[in-house]
């Protein structure tokens, strides 16, 4: 896992702002720099959610096309480029899985073969249920308030310790721990709220 240096928010923010300035004014080399720094993270996030390298590639394309074509969608005063790209990749990946699920359901309904869910995995029911729960969790993660989502993204996808995440976000360590805890508890709660849900789950995600 390529690990970029952990910079304090006060060091990171001006670098992000300068990169943003170059993106706004159409400097392609800024896009290449953003790609070099963050493509690994973006793909990692997308593949974890979609389980498909091809889908992750599509997500990465979308994410960097968005960064380039809509530079004003990123606001360097509101968060780091790293977390912004990570969260954007995550949302797009969740959207991809939801639309896959819808297609699959439609196809299954057409065949009236409700249990013939094609999957690349070994395919016992348990694995299918796990996949559904995973989507539920990632949907819930995408809905978390941004301050909690940022810490989860840094700790979970970007491989940061809670201390490093605190440094990057410019928040106290205790706050980083508390946010991680609140976030993960909410996700665990989302899971137990829908204990046995395979079907309504897809509707919810749609």
């Amino acid at each position: 896992m390529p690990v970029e240096p952990t910079l304090h928010k006060s060091e990171r923010a001006p670098l992000d702002a300068e990169l943003h300035r170059r993106l706004v004014y159409g400097d392609e080399s800024a896009l290449a720099e953003a790609y070099t720094a963050y493509a690994g993270l973006v793909r990692r996030v997308a593949v974890r959610v979609t389980r498909s390298p091809a889908a992750a590639e599509d997500v990465a394309q979308e994410v960097f096309a968005q960064l380039w074509s809509r530079p004003y969608a990123f606001d360097a005063s509101r968060g780091s480029l790293r977390t912004w790209l990570s969260m954007l990749a995550h949302r797009r990946a969740v959207d991809w899985v939801r639309s896959e699920a819808r297609h699959r359901k439609d196809a299954a309904a057409d065949d009236s073969a409700l249990h013939a869910i094609p999957d690349t995995g070994p395919g016992p029911d348990e694995a299918v249920v796990d996949r559904e729960r995973s989507l539920l969790l990632h949907s819930a993660l995408a809905e978390l308030p941004q301050p909690q989502r940022e810490v989860v993204h840094l700790a979970y996808f970007a491989g940061r310790t809670y201390r490093q995440a605190a440094v990057e976000l410019g928040i106290p360590e205790g706050t980083a721990k508390t946010r991680l805890r609140s976030a993960l508890r909410k996700l665990a709660q989302a899971l137990s709220d829908t204990a046995d849900p395979p079907d309504p789950l897809w509707e919810r995600g749609a």
Partner: protein, 343 residues
Amino acid sequence: MTDDHDGVPELLAAWALGALPPGGGRAVPTHLAGCETCSAEAVRLRETVRLLDGGDPASAPSGNGATGIDGVLGPALRARPALPRVADHAVPYAAAVAGLGALLRELGGRRSWSTPVVHDWDVRDTVGHLIAADQELARHLGLEVRVPPPRGREATPWEADWETRTADVIAYERTREPSETVAEWAAQSSALLATAEARDPELASRAATLMGTRLPVADHFLTRAFEAWIHADDIGRALGLAVPPPPDGHLRRLVRLAVRVLGAALGPSAPPVLFAVTVGGEDARWVLGSEDDPVRGELAVDAVDFCRLVGGRRAPDEVPRRSTGDEAAVRAVLERAASLAWL
């Protein structure tokens, strides 16, 4: 709770995510072995992380289907083209056009075209104004421009003529969809950047009098860049989006041109002032006014503030400055810069 549980509950989420610093979780296993509450919580959080991972770790695909940078840059550049290839003197304008274009993509939905910007213009009017302003150079370079029918007499002073024309263009654009106005502005900008004068420094060195100012065509391109940026900044303020200043290299050129125009406006007999403008942490310096007399005062301002002053977006007494010496001489420079009301 911390007292009873060695601080473990606060660590469990980080622990479940593998986000503890090295050696930071020593207390966890021992505590979990003896505490049912924390142990149940730990199991629950670990299971949550396992499912976030997608369940069975063995079925996780590796992330290496990457097509590399070209696979990503291609689609990006189709969504927003790269800057057109132009000579050095036209690059700031190409960049400013790209910057305003990017900003205008944010319009629509809750960011309305009818948001008031400056004067009595909304966003669409401001773009309409730029169409009129760019037309001067476009016409000079032989491009076909749609000029509204003249309303005034012949031989009106250029200011009156200009006021009439910008009002006509804005009135016309108000009859159309904002997207048509933007498309027209973008098409005219692209046409300007596709002229031989945008690509050939030799051709661009010829002087032309536009809007009452005689400058080489290369400098008129810079003026277009200046205006596009200042109006983008106006629009950004109105929408609550921070518009970054042009890249330092471009900003330096805008400042040099503005200082030249300012120096000419002050004339050769004004009390001399040492004038410094800061771009990217570095000062560029000039002596304005008389070359024969000793310097009477010193004035230093930031490049963006100076551009806003010259662009009529800041009053002389609003500009943050460092100055020493003859206050009247320094004031005279600031007042003159503001009076250029370049836009």
